[in-house]
């Protein structure tokens, strides 16, 4: 169990690195989630690892601690209604707007990649229906550990059964021992990059659809606003930011309006742009 001083220290270091807020209610679960890391790093306990992190100058251990506490819950086609909107409306509209140019989709805070691969499957289905969608998908996360898994495209039987219809599973995956591997074609269609949402994403260019679902919840109010502002900076004029089902815009976010879980620039913001 973490004592108060250890909890305060972890909460401060994690927030500084990732923006994520660790609440006191999460203290016990943080301790459990950090135990494997403590063992791998050769410490007898989590408090011992925290004591070591305090005196190590390079911050690498704090980075590893923040990485292991990163929110990683995700699933294929999470929030079915949102993905239906993307499939039936947002993607076709963006493709039509772009014409021969590539439509660009960004899965921000992609965790282990299921969200990005869900978009890749939708695009592949369009190709199989005789369309030729010119699109590219970028998926970013702060955690190299999660990105490694996303790039590998290997999922457990439990993971492929949560949200993924069976016809899509056998169309896009193959068995790899006890795991399921996504097809090379889909794997190659998603570019995975490390990115911290506390930083500006300008280097990635502009996007037509940005999926920012179940990401803002781990931040405090000022960080939510700042992240949304930075993300909106790289949103194309008619682009859409997809939030998770039930998520709302933080107070003070006047530059966006939200409808059915999809945020777009408000008329005032569009006029100003």
């Amino acid at each position: 169990m973490l004592n108060e001083a250890e909890f305060v220290l972890i909460a401060r270091e994690v927030k500084a690195r990732t923006g994520a807020v660790i609440t006191r209610e999460m203290s016990a679960s943080a301790n459990v989630r950090l135990q494997p890391l403590a063992r791998r790093e050769g410490y007898a306990s989590v408090p011992e690892m925290i004591a070591a992190a305090r005196i190590k100058p390079d911050g690498a251990l704090w980075n590893a601690i923040a990485d292991n506490l990163a929110q990683s819950e995700t699933r294929f086609f999470r929030d079915r209604a949102q993905f239906e909107q993307i499939r039936t409306k947002l993607l076709p509209e963006a493709l039509a707007r772009r014409g021969h140019e590539r439509t660009r989709v960004w899965s921000a805070g992609c965790s282990t990649g299921q969200e990005a691969y869900s978009i890749a499957m939708i695009l592949e289905d369009m190709r199989n229906d005789g369309l030729n969608p010119a699109a590219e998908i970028l998926a970013t996360d702060l955690s190299e550990r999660l990105l490694d898994k996303a790039r590998a495209g290997l999922y457990t039987q439990f993971e492929v059964q949560r949200g993924l219809p069976i016809r899509r599973l056998i169309a896009h995956f193959e068995k790899a021992g006890d795991l399921w591997r996504i097809s090379d074609r889909l794997r190659a269609s998603v570019k995975f990059e490390r990115h911290n949402l506390l930083h500006h994403p300008g280097q990635f260019g502009q996007f037509d659809i940005i999926i920012l679902a179940h990401v803002l919840a781990s931040f405090d109010q000022p960080t939510r606003l700042a992240v949304l502002e930075r993300v909106t900076d790289v949103l194309s004029p008619d682009g859409a930011i997809i939030l998770g089902s039930g998520e709302t815009l933080p107070e003070g976010c006047g530059h966006l309006t939200l409808e059915n879980g999809v945020a777009r620039r408000s008329n005032a913001a569009r006029a100003a742009a």
Binding site: R80, Q157, F158, Q161, R162, G163, P165, I166, R167, L169, I170, E174, K175
Partner: protein
């Protein structure tokens, strides 16, 4: 209340599935093999069938092929629930008329997700 027929030769699996499906507001009937399931369907077609593959007397796949030939047998939504996890087996089940396919072991989250995929909730 919609009815779901749970077909599995394991009493434990039937009990686990019953508990989850009752929480999902299904009325449950149980069958221990394909023949029992067929008799149950001939009495009254359920809206949903959760179906094991390997069972004594009549397998799940043989039951399904027979069911789809029965009057009204095209109506139930059939979700396989089996340890068979080869792609060929899954394709065989879909060809025989399965609507969704679930690989054991499963939990409430997966069962919920598969029933949603099948349009049952």
């Amino acid at each position: 209340m919609r009815r779901c027929l749970v077909v599995d030769d394991s009493r434990v699996i039937r009990k686990v599935a019953r508990r989850i499906l009752e929480d999902m507001r299904f009325e449950i009937e149980e069958a221990g093999d394909g023949l029992e399931a067929l008799q149950a369907c001939r009495r009254q077609m359920p809206e949903a069938i959760l179906l094991d593959w390997t069972m004594p007397v009549m397998s799940g796949i043989d039951f399904l092929r027979q069911l789809r030939k029965e009057p009204g047998g095209d109506k139930p939504t059939v979700v396989f629930c089996t340890t068979e996890n080869d792609v060929e087996r899954i394709a065989e089940a879909l060809k025989a008329g399965a609507d969704e396919y679930m690989m054991k072991p499963f939990d409430g989250d997966i069962l919920h997700s598969k029933f949603a995929e099948a349009g049952l909730i």
